[in-house]
Every structure is written in C-alpha cells, then in structure tokens.
Symmetry: D2
Subunit: 310 residues, 4 copies
C-alpha cells in the first residue's frame, strides 16, 4: 500500500499536526503548508491525498479561512474530524529558569488564551508576537534572543528540542479545537455510523425576510439537528449571507437526503462537503418518524395511492 501524503497547517509542531497524528500511520508523509488555503490547494492539485485543517475552536469560533477555502474553488470532501485539547507548555532552551522568563513569544491567539495564567504565575511579561505557536518554538530553537520562552504545544516543544518549564498552561482547561480531514471530491464516502455529521454550505434566497427561518425549517421538518452554523458573507454586498452548517446524520440517511432535497429546491446554492463520523461518537438520537424505515414505508404508501387498483 502506498503511504498517504497529508498537507496540514504548518509549520511542524502545530496543533494541526497533533490532529493529523491522530489519523495518520507512521509511514504517512506530513507536508506543512503556509496557510489553510495552501493546505487545501495541495489536495485540489493532487500534490497530497488529504489535508488536515482546523474548522472550529471552542473559544475563537469558526475558522473563516477554512470555511471560505472550502467554499471557493473546486469541490472537496471532508472524511473525518478530530478534537485536540488546546493546552500549552512554556518551553525554552535547556538551563532557562521559570523566574527568568520576562519575554514570551507565541501566536496572539495563544497569548489571549493564557493571559490569566501568565499574570498569575509570571507577573509582568512582554508578548513577542509570532505567526504560529510552533513558529515561536522554531525561532527559539533557531537561536532567537529577542524572547526568553515560547508558549507552544507539547509536540513542537519536543520536535524543536526545547525544555518544558511549565505544562498545562491555559486559562480555560476545556478549550478544544476541531480539525477536519479533507480529501478530493472523488474520495469514497465514509460508511454510515450511529453518530455521523454532514457539512453543508447554503446560500439564502436574497431579499426575502425570514429566509433564514424558512431554511432552518427544512431541517426541523425532518427532525435533523444542527451542531454548528456560521454565517459568512456571499461577498458581493453587505447583508447577503450564506451559512456553513454541520448537521447530524449521514447523506445516506433518508432524513438528511430529504433536507438536502428541500434545500436544493429553495436555496440558490447548496454545496455538500461530506458525511463523516463525529469525533464525540455519541449516537444521534432520532425523533419519531425520521428513521429510514419511516421514510420508506411512507413512500410505499404514496406509491400505492398512485397505482390503479384493479
């Protein structure tokens, strides 16, 4: 079997690579990309088999770069999702003592998520911005002297050979980021499981008050719950929206198909980005009348009405 090639939001040692390690075998090739569009572009061009990118953070919300890069360009398919807890380590070259740390380099998001811990444990410290937490670790390993420690994840501390001064650094210890594995459009659909998710992009009919309500009723009428909804601009003028949506269930489920048919009929644009097992693996709780057999027996009944009875 040929080893898989994965592009991911780099550089080496990012939380994204931690997510990637959950799904890739040892023989896989990991190709860091400078940003999310670049990681997806490699899949679109066939340079990698899959891309791993973040889609949602429990603190920062939806990752617009991912949502928009999926929307713009040729079709892609999400085939899986992974959760990574967002906790940091404070890492430095061997010999550095915690009390010597006066300047910390990290990505502004990382800094924001650890401000209280730093104030409580280190007092008045200067933030030296980096383009990613892993980049801070890389710079430190490369001999940077304009800061004393990097606030990064455990993986990059290890990969860049740094010493961990403090573990479990985080203001919100439950912070988590959701990552997705994205393949080309012709990748086979993952099999149905009891706890699937389906990701969609839906544009609303313009100039219609209540259009969002009407769109959501397409889901409600078939008993399909949403687990994520993000509004994104269509881009041509203010006040025109499309929505990035995760709903419960698999496109092989009748109720999800009925939702998709309803959306396709009534919305100017619907795109399907895949059905895949949810990371939390909690089985979807079906409402009465929404199982596959409810749909098929209803269809049989209607078909019978159309037949001549002789």
């Amino acid at each position: 079997m040929v080893p898989m090639r994965f592009s991911y939001l780099g550089p080496r040692g990012t939380f994204t690579q931690m997510a990637l390690m959950q799904v890739s075998s040892d023989e896989s090739e990991h190709v860091p990309a400078v940003d999310v569009p670049a990681a997806l572009r490699m899949v679109r061009r066939g340079e990698t088999d899959f891309a791993v990118v973040p889609i949602e953070n429990s603190v920062e919300g939806g990752v617009n770069a991912t949502i928009d890069s999926l929307s713009n360009g040729s079709a892609l398919r999400i085939v899986g999702e992974m959760l990574v807890p967002i906790t940091f380590v404070l890492a430095a070259p061997q010999g550095t003592r915690l009390e010597d740390v006066k300047r910390i380099s990290t990505h502004p998001h990382g800094w924001a998520q650890c401000q209280n811990w730093i104030a409580d444990n280190l007092g008045d410290v200067i933030h030296v911005p980096a383009t990613s937490t892993a980049a801070a670790a890389a710079a430190m390993a490369g001999g940077a002297t304009n800061f004393d420690a990097a606030l990064c994840n455990p993986l990059s501390a290890e990969q860049y050979g740094l010493t961990v001064l403090a573990e479990g650094v985080a203001d919100n210890p439950d912070a988590v980021t959701r990552f997705i594995t994205v393949g080309p459009e012709n990748v086979p659909l993952p099999e149905r499981t009891p706890s699937d998710k389906t990701t969609l992009q839906v544009q609303l009919p313009s100039d219609e008050s209540g259009a969002l309500l009407t769109m959501l009723e397409q889901f409600a009428t078939r008993g399909v719950n949403l687990s994520r909804i993000e509004s994104r601009p269509v881009g041509d003028s203010l006040g025109r929206y499309q929505f990035s949506i995760d709903c419960e269930g698999h496109v092989a489920d009748e109720r999800v198909q009925a939702v998709l048919i309803g959306l396709h009929r009534t919305c100017p644009l619907v795109r399907f980005f895949g059905s895949y097992p949810s990371a939390h693996q909690i089985p979807v709780k079906l409402r009465p009348g929404t199982a596959d057999q409810d749909f098929s027996s209803a269809r049989s009944w209607v078909a019978g009405l159309l037949e001549t009875k002789d």
Copy 2:
C-alpha cells in the same frame, strides 16, 4: 357503455341533485338516499357507482355527516367537485298569490338563509319545518294544507309541478355549497390538471403541544396551500382531534407526495380521499422550488452525492 348509477342525498329535487346533474349524463340513474351515510354506503356496497353529497357550505361550514362518513368505513375516493349557488324560489300550487303566503315550509337551514328576504317581502310569516327543502316541495305537491308555500330550489319546484311565486330568494346571493362525487377505492385517479385539489384526513399525535403547528409545517415546507381545514373529534375523548383537509395539487405532484410522506411519518393516521380538479378551475400558483422538476433535479443531485466518483 353501461349507464352510471349515482346515489345522492335525497329526496328528489335537492340541491344535491342539482349538483349531480352537472356531472351525470341523461342515461344515468339517480338513486336518492335518506342521508349522507346511506348515499356513501350504496357506493361501498357496490349498489351505485358514485355518490354525490355536500361537503362544505359557505354559510354553514363543513358538512360533518359527509366528513365523518368518509372517515368511518372502508376507503372511498373523491373524483370531482361541483359548486351550486344556494338561492331559493318560493313555490306553491297554481293560483296561489304571493300576498296570500302566511306559512312557509322549508328546512331550517333554508329558513335561516332567507329570513331577511322574507321579513322584507312578506312581513310576518310562520315557519313550518321540513326535513329538506325538497321535502317541503314534495309535501306541497302531495296536498299538504298546513302551509301555503314551499321555500325550495328551482329544480324541486319544477320536479314537483309547483308554480314559482318568487325567484332568487336569498339573504346572501353569493351563498354556495360545494358537493363531491365519491367512488369506490379502486376507481381510477382523475388525471392531473393545473388546478387540482387533494382531500386528506390527518390525526394529530396526542399529548403534544404544538402538534397542529408541526403538522401544518409539513405543508408549508413544500409550498402546498390548504383550501379547507375542519377539526373533527377522534371520538375517544375531549381534546383529541383529527383534521379534514383540502390542499392544492394532485397526488401525482411531487410536492404533494412529499407532504404525504411527511404526514405519514409523523402522524398516527393519514387517509387519502382523492385528487380531483377544483370546481373553480383557477390554476394553482406554484411557489419557487416546488415544481416537479425542482424535486427531480434535487433528487438527482442527492443521488449523485451517493455515487462513487471513480
């Protein structure tokens, strides 16, 4: 071709027979029935081919006897509807003068619908109740002396050989009754037209607040309008309802099928009583995304998502 046999709500000369005359050929046999259940029973037993019965009156509302007789018993199919304007004539034996009329026999509904006309034109007149307006005409023709004139429809005045003293008697000249032609379950469905109606019986899930709202959303989500809704008791306890519904469209329409599937999935009982051309012949105005081709292209799209792309 064998002449058709029609049972109808009798006696001879009722508004129902006027409706029947709109659809029957000269060779048809007209069989009066004592009440609506009897007229439908003849169809169920194969004694007649079709029954004509009233279903809705613009003044009195739904005709419960018809709605309930359709619901209870073996399945029947509505194959057409007819509108009959409800205006009366004042009819009497030859020689009677309008100014001599002091006692009028008619059905209480007929009396109720002409009270103002009578007060304005005849002053203080006594009502002698009859079991139908045609029965009053029949009694008059049979020599009844306890009243001076019958308030009946033009047909029964003619059939019973009475002289018309006044025409167009009605407080509300726009009053109209809708009648239906009902056949056995195995009668062929009428062909689709641009202005069809479908008649249903739908029982709500019990003990669920908002169940009526949820049921109506099954129609709204597919852009199907209701033209009649009547609540009827399920019969086992107060507060348990079923609904008799006319909606726009034909069961051969995809949007109507989608409604039926949704109702079948979520309601404990759905019965289909037929799709047939509406009497007013005003084409149904489709909302965007609800035409057959919208459904079929949406289904094709979803089917494509399920295929392997290799």
Copy 3:
C-alpha cells in the same frame, strides 16, 4: 339574594339541564329554550341571567349552533364549563318489558351513539326520530303510541315518570359533552385559578397562504397551548375561515395577554368570550419563560434600556 334565572337548551330533562344542575342552586329558575340561539338570546335581552348550552361533544365535535350564536350578536361572556357523561337509559311506561321493545324514539345523535348496544341487546329495532332525547321521553309520557320506549338520559326518565328498562346504554362509555355557562358582557370575570381556559374567535387575514400557521405561532411564541380549535366559515364565500379556539390560561395571565395583543395586531377580527376554570381542574403546565414574573422582569429590563442613565 335574588335567585338566578338560567335559560338552557330544552326541553326539560336534557343533558343540558343535567349540566345546569351542576352549577345552579335549588332556588334557581330553569327556563328551557327551543334551541341554542334562543337560550343565548334570553341572556342578551336580560330575560335570564345566564344560559347553559353545549359547546363540544367527544363524539360529534364542536356544537356549531353554539359557536355561531356566540359569534353573531352582541358580546357574551363564558363564566364556567361543566362536563356531563353521555350515557342513556331505555325508558318506557310502567309494565313494558325489554323484550317487547321494537320501536325506540330518540334524537338521531342518541341513536347513533347507541347503535351497537341496541343491535347486541335488542336486535332489529326501528328508530323513531325525535327532536331531542328529552322530547322522546316527553312524548312517551304524553301517551305516544308510535314507539315502545324512549332512549333518553336518566334525568328526563325521572322527570317524565318513566320506568327504566336498561341503564348505562352507550356504545362508547367514555362519551362526554362539555357545556358552558354564558352571561352578559358585563358579568365579572371569574378569578384566576391554576387551570383556566380562555375562549376566542379569530378571523384570519384573507388571501394569505400560511395565515393559519402564522396565527398559531402567536400562541406558540408565548407558550400557550390550544385545547380546542374549530374552523367556521366567515360566511361570505368558500375558503374564508374563522376559528373558535380554547386556549389554556386566563386573560389576567401575561402570556395570554401577549397572545391577544399579537392576534389583535395581525388578524382582522378577534373576539374574547371569557376566561374561566376548566372542568378537569388539571393545573396548566407552564413552559420556561412564560410565567407572569418572566414577563414583568423582561418589561422592566426593556424599560431600563429606554431611560437615560445619568
């Protein structure tokens, strides 16, 4: 204290009088009326203090004569409701034996509700229609010879001095009719209790698809359940409806007031027929956010937003 005068749907001994006896003291005057409109007319004219009339039957559904007589004419107020189980006795002059009964007189509704019992217990028996079950008893007491027994309620058997041949005659032993006590518009509102009902008449905006759905959402948004809904024609043309509605709660409840305000704003006609304790006395189960204090604290918050903060 002056004794109350009650008009009711007569004649003496009807189920309606049984309902009346649940609420009237011994000194009350009971005035039978020939029909429901007449009973209500007496209240409108001040000839009686209250009327007792049926409004809903678990088998036959809403009583249109009552619903329409409330709607047409000057305003009235419902101040209470009573439930009466609908079971019959077979009554005859002393000496009649059950096996001699070959012809039974009763109202057609009574006949319909006992058909199976009669077939099972008496076999082939002829129905002699009467205008009410009590009228059958009265005729029997008056010496009528065209039938052998009256199918009536226990009260009229007693009042007309008949012997009971069989008790508990009913196909559906749980059949029940709901009656209401109706006073003039200026009667004081009954006090709030934990299990009130409010009765309304609501006309829909014409020519608006989804108007019923929109109207029901006025209730749903405030968490107010419906316990009865009947469609009635507006009367000017087919397809124009108004609804007779019972909802849970009292007009003194904030959530019911909010519903009424919403209906008044958006419907061409809303009439209030009273708030009164429900006969079943089951406390209304409030949904979160719909108690009076939820409304008043929300209003205070909004009022605070409008104040200048200096």
Copy 4:
C-alpha cells in the same frame, strides 16, 4: 463645547480613521489604538468619549474582534454606523514609476482583495506583509527599502506624504466595510428615525434542538427583520452558540420592545448594544399590524377586557 475624543483602530490613516472622519468635527481628538479591544477599553475607562471600530466587511464578514470585545466586559452602546468603500491606492515615494514596482507591502486582507488587479496590471509581484495597510504606508514614509510601494487607502497616502501611482485598486469595486461608533453605557440613545437598527447579543438555551428556530420566531412573530446574524462560541465548549444580531428598528419601537421581552423571557442571556440610524437611510418597511399604534390599540383592547364593565 468640549471637543470629543475618539479612539479608533489605528495606526493613523486606516480605513477606520476614514470612517471616523465622517462623524467627527475638526476639533475632535483622534486617538489610534493598537487593536479593537484597546480602542473599546479606552471608552470603558473614560479615556475617550467614543470609539470607532469595524464591525462587518462585505468580503471578510463579521469582525470577530469587535463582536467579542463588545460582548466581553462592561456594557457599551453603539450610537451610529458608517460605511466606507474599500478601494486602495498604490503609493510610493516621489519618483517611483509604476513599472518599477516589484514588491508591495500591505495587510494580507488588502493583498487578498487586490490580487487580480495586481496580476493584470503589474504581473509577478512579491507581497511583503504588514500589520495594517496604513502601517505599510508609514513604513514606506519611514524609509523602508524592503518593498517598492504600499497598497493603502487614499487617506494614509496623503497623511504619510506618498505619491499615488494608481487609484481605485480593487478586485471588487463594491467592497465596503461597516464601522460603528461606540460610547459608554450611559450615553443618550439616538432619537428614533425611519431607518434604525438595533444590535443585540443573544445566547441560546443549551441542549435544545430547534433553539435557533425558536429564537428567530421571536423576531418573525413581531415582523422584525434581521440585517445581520453572526454565530459566536459561548466559549465553554464546542457546539454552544451565542449570536450577534442586527435587527431593523429602534428600541423605542413597540415591536422591537416586544422582541426584546420575548428574548429576555426565553434565552439565558440577552444584551442590548444600542439603537441607531442605519447608514443606508432606507426607511424600514413595516408589515401590517406591527406599527406602534397597532400595539397600543391592542393593549387598550386587552386592558378593557380586564375591567369590570358596570
């Protein structure tokens, strides 16, 4: 009169300062802030009277930094909004020729919004990232030599004394950003106009499927349209959302108050961020039954029902 102090998203010359110039008088003091939270913090601390910050971009969508900074921290009030078209100039030191430009510095968003123009007009050019478009202009004015031109707005070209090589640089000439003026909580509410907007933050009841639908129905039932909706994480776990919403109308409008009351009753958190005239000045189109007089006459009617009529 004391001159007003405005903090804004700096540095000098940003699009934000262009928005600020639309509302500030010549005597106003403009205080640049390093980021949006800092600009708002100055208002919270009383260091400035108002802050001007971006809230929504027609291409990039909602500005999360602004939405989240409004939500977190003490209450603030939006008192106005301004639109600024997003078009750029290519600016350089005097003497630079367009054909010499091989390296351009600008913010990544600016670069993204002009990529096609640059490819068409300049061919293969290198992007040198800057922290804002104004920062690129400032660096160029400060003598930076690692790029040849700054892609910035006209204001910063002027402020930093640069020569404009090309005007109207933009891939989408209709791109526009919406900015808001934010004051402290005790600032007086702007007066009502025919085209107001109200900004809210609403948290959904957790673990309730259909919660978003239910929340939107609070708006629909009162005929209040949304002009913007953004989902933001509550922050404690994935799948828990709050929404940042702009709706039509002013908190002094009865229909908006009714929405606020409904939201306050049913949602765990509702925050009001102000009512202010919309920048586009198109009057809100009222739906029937939603004007102030509709609410007040409905309330009077309900109040009358509660009065004793004697």
